[in-house]
């Protein structure tokens, strides 16, 4: 199935914010370089198409593993399959970074405390444990985890 065979392909309601995209584009280039407006628009369209492509493949990966929810691992596999394997390392790093920050937020929000507070060492140890889990999940690849995923950030 060709990911691009979308019947009645119309301009999506959802596109990516132009300002943010322009910022990313400009940051890649020397300051005195101009980007034509139609080039900017085309770059944005390409990015949306990229999301479509990876989404379709992620969906397939998810299907093959008999899962109901598209998880980051499926997206990573899709990237590899489609030739974007180079991105995986940085994407993983960003993902882990996000997990740290989410953990910090929930720690600050007092989620862990019932009056007693976690010391910094305990918090760091907790972080390390979660990294190890995440890494194991990543490296597990196609292997389905035996226990239900306790990750609270999963949503339907």
């Amino acid at each position: 199935m060709e990911p691009m065979d979308i019947v009645g392909k119309s301009k999506e309601d959802a596109s990516l914010p132009k300002a943010t995209m322009t910022k990313i584009i400009k940051e890649m280039l020397p300051p005195d370089v101009r980007v034509a407006r139609d080039a900017q628009d085309l770059l944005i369209e390409c990015c949306v198409e990229f999301i479509n492509l990876i989404s379709s493949e992620s969906n397939e990966v998810c299907n093959r593993e008999d899962k109901r929810t598209i998880a980051p691992e499926h997206v990573l596999k899709a990237l590899e399959v489609l030739g974007f394997g180079e991105y995986i390392e940085e994407v993983c790093a960003a993902y882990e970074q996000h997990k740290i920050e989410t953990l910090q937020d929930s720690l600050r929000g007092g989620k862990w405390s019932n009056g007693a507070e976690m010391t910094e060492e305990e918090a760091v140890a907790e972080q390390q444990r979660m990294f190890a889990e995440a890494r194991a999940r990543m490296n597990g690849g196609a292997v389905a985890p035996k226990q239900p995923d306790p990750d609270p950030s999963l949503e339907s």
């Binding site: 990516l16 370089v33 080039a39 770059l43 390409c46 479509n52 379709s56 980051p72 991105y87 990750d151």
Partner: protein, 103 residues
């Protein structure tokens, strides 16, 4: 592979460190993901985060390659044809060939 230093002395490492882990709005990404097919499954809360970073990298690569074409033409304005050339010259961007030739 990415030689940011060749083009700009400012760039080093990732750019997302400055403004936060992800620049692109996750809700928007999720919407696009849902529209990408008829039978798209449920999407975990974390998948858009992975997408956000992947998109960033994708745009960076496409921009860089387009810019190479611009430079070869000894110009300082990156135009649409440069993007088209970059797409046609890169295998993994094959999925974009129809998109760039119809506009």
């Amino acid at each position: 592979m990415r030689q940011a230093g060749a083009y700009s002395g400012i760039l080093c490492g990732g750019i997302s460190g400055r403004t936060g882990p992800h620049l692109l709005p996750l809700a928007r990404i999720k919407k696009i993901m849902k529209k990408s097919g008829d039978d798209v499954k449920m999407i975990s809360g974390e998948a858009p985060i992975v997408f956000s970073k992947a998109c960033e990298l994708f745009i960076e690569e496409l921009t860089q390659r387009s810019w190479l074409v611009t430079m070869q033409g000894k110009r300082r304005t990156l135009n649409k044809e440069d993007v088209t050339s970059a797409v046609l010259a890169t295998d993994i961007f094959d999925f974009l060939v129809n998109l760039v030739s119809e506009t």
